[in-house]
């Protein structure tokens, strides 16, 4: 029997298409937040930080811990009043990125830094090792956060309290929906990305980062403290991943100790698509991957989503290894 790729044809016409695009772009913004962590680290030390996706996963559990400390669980989330909701989101946005940034920085200090002059494979394999340790840690963490005083099976996915209500803000006859959750994503990711761009373009630390990315030795000769710049990169990348995990958890309302692997690969694909090491490229890549994922699940079928995104990753690497916005560099011998 021939495979019917278009079995899941979408109902409705243009309105639905626009709706899927909006959904895709919003989800893409989340990918972009994580992709930035990949692209910044790769840009500076040419390391595919495999553990970044799992750092994101640990961020969602940190968010869960913050909520349970505030007494918010899946069953009580709907009853939370506006004040408590705002407080909870604010606290999560404060604590989770700090935690992720600190963890990312410490991992670089303890594990990657001694390997700076080792063969290329060594930090990459170490990063895979860190990702395993993080996953194990996430598994334990999930088992340690109780749901209404009951333990939960640590290995299965668990629900994240649905804190932000899903209220449509557009009139009913507008033909599409734009909900409070969508507003939350836009209101938080957009300023962060603008701030990051300004930071890298305008500040002296940003300038040092660009210099180090271009040529670490030359940057060191110019008096730049390269180790500090690398540390700062891990801090910023981790913090962005932390914001991403709060947004993701509040938007999707589920997490698991394995959530980091797939999300990380999507985000990495986004970074490569945009041109790895290129900050606007990561954002563009994230949006494109989000669109592909959203439209793909409608027009091709949800089960093919991951295969589709990996196929795109491979095609980009074959035909445009430097990505959409990346500059083509010649390999030095």
């Amino acid at each position: 029997m021939p495979l019917d790729l278009f079995a899941a044809a979408p109902a409705g016409g243009l309105d639905n298409f626009l709706q899927y695009c909006v959904q895709g772009l919003l989800f893409g913004a989340l990918f972009a937040l994580i992709a930035l962590g990949y692209t910044m680290v790769y840009g500076i030390i040419e390391l595919i930080n495999f553990a970044h996706g799992d750092l994101f996963m640990l961020g969602t559990f940190m968010g869960l811990t913050v909520l349970s400390a505030l007494g918010i669980s899946v069953s009580t989330a709907a009853a939370a009043n506006t004040g408590l909701t705002v407080l909870a989101v604010f606290l999560m946005l404060l604590i989770v990125p700090t935690f992720c940034a600190g963890l990312n920085w410490s991992v670089d200090r303890v594990i990657y830094k001694p390997l700076r002059n080792a063969p290329r494979l060594a930090p990459l394999v170490s990063a895979i090792g860190v990702s395993f340790v993080f996953m194990n840690f996430g598994l334990f963490w999930n088992g340690a956060i109780y749901e209404d005083d009951r333990p939960v099976p640590a290995a299965s996915p668990r629900a994240f309290p649905d804190l932000v209500p899903l209220r449509n803000l557009l009139p009913e006859d507008a033909g599409m929906r734009f909900t409070t959750k969508d507003v939350m994503v836009v209101a938080i990711t957009l300023p962060i990305m603008i701030a990051l761009t300004l930071f890298v373009k305008r500040t002296s630390l940003g300038k040092a980062m660009r210099a180090t990315a271009q040529h670490p030795t030359a940057a060191r000769l110019m008096g730049i403290n390269v180790d500090r710049v690398i540390g700062a990169t891990f801090l910023i990348g981790g913090a962005l991943g932390g914001v991403g995990s709060v947004m993701y958890a509040l938007y999707i309302n589920t997490t698991s100790y394995q959530a980091g692997f797939q999300m990380g690969l999507y985000a990495f694909t986004a970074a490569v698509l945009g041109g790895i090491g290129n900050i606007p490229g990561a954002v563009l890549g994230g949006l494109v991957i989000g669109l592909v994922r959203s439209l793909g699940s409608v027009y091709v079928g949800e089960t093919w989503n991951s295969a589709l995104i990996f196929a795109i990753l491979i095609l980009i690497l074959v035909f445009r290894p430097s990505g959409l916005l990346g500059a083509r560099t010649r390999e030095k011998v």
Binding site: S131, V133, N136, A154, L317
Partner: protein, 368 residues
Amino acid sequence: MKTILQRVPWLWMMFVLAVAYPILPGLDKEVFEITGQPVGRVIATIFISAILALGLNVVVGNAGLLHLGIGAFFGFGAYLTGIIMVREYPFQREIAPVAAFFLCVAVSTIGSALLAVILSGPVLRLRGDYFALVTLGFGEVVRFTLRNLEEVTAGTKGLKPIPSPWTMDVDFAWNYRGYYFLTLTFLTIVILLLRNLERSAIGRAWVALREDELAAASMGLNVARLKLGAIALGAGLAGLAGCLFAYVLRNTSDPDQYGFNISIMTLCCLILGGVGNRTGVIVGVVLVFGFDNLLSPIMDSYLQRQLFAVADPAGDVRVFGGRIGNTGSPYLNFSGWRLAVFGLALIFVMRFRPSGLIPARRGSTKES
């Protein structure tokens, strides 16, 4: 200079032990009574993992290409066998089981090698970690395809039953010896083949390629063909391992068995044991898969018995009155720590012994 670990004749020791285990009468039954695990059967799967790891070692160790998707070819081989033996069921009855087995071996090996050539051909010019990433992508694409093509692969249910390769129907649980010696024979053949290949012109060319691609090309070696050959051989061995795996399990299991996890575990064996060194790789396989498939289940059932003895009726475990967890808590299970154990092993080996426990003797192991 040889280190002490390099002087020990690991391969011979392991071979003698492997042959002795099933020959000693009643040993497996005795071991089963103590451990509660069908150890002989598990060892047969460890032999299969060793074939898989040796296949990966051709790509990573000999040719110096980091490959993160070997599991896909393992799975592809298993599913080719499954398709021949289960989907084409009428065909089974017209052909002797032994002949069908060798047909499956040939089809799985060649099929996986061909798939690898088709997939990797276009991406050969990518270098270093980009190549690694693409192989990872392939691995996932193949896994999702296996899962989604339900008409052919039965989705997550897997294809079953795969009949035994011999005519008489032996009791699977106890008479493990057939599969044991079958897999051990294949492993021995693979080791001999790879040993000879490594000493041949192509083996030396791979070393040149691994040490410096540009220099190798300048000396007139056809780099693309060498890389493709290593990838095809590696994937072919992985396909062979998949075929044997399907036979020993008597089904293809489900596609998630062949994902990133198995690829990384296999890579773990290489890195732990010593990339590029056959003996080291097999020591790595014994450590990693022995830990995962033998030690973990044994320790788990032991720990569970201990926990249930001290737990209260609600399942809470207390030490000196303080609650330390539930009988189901992953950190009170031995296997709950496996990811951390492997992760830390990778980190520590990379930091303190970057060429593995038993490093390859010849040349350096510098990777691009």
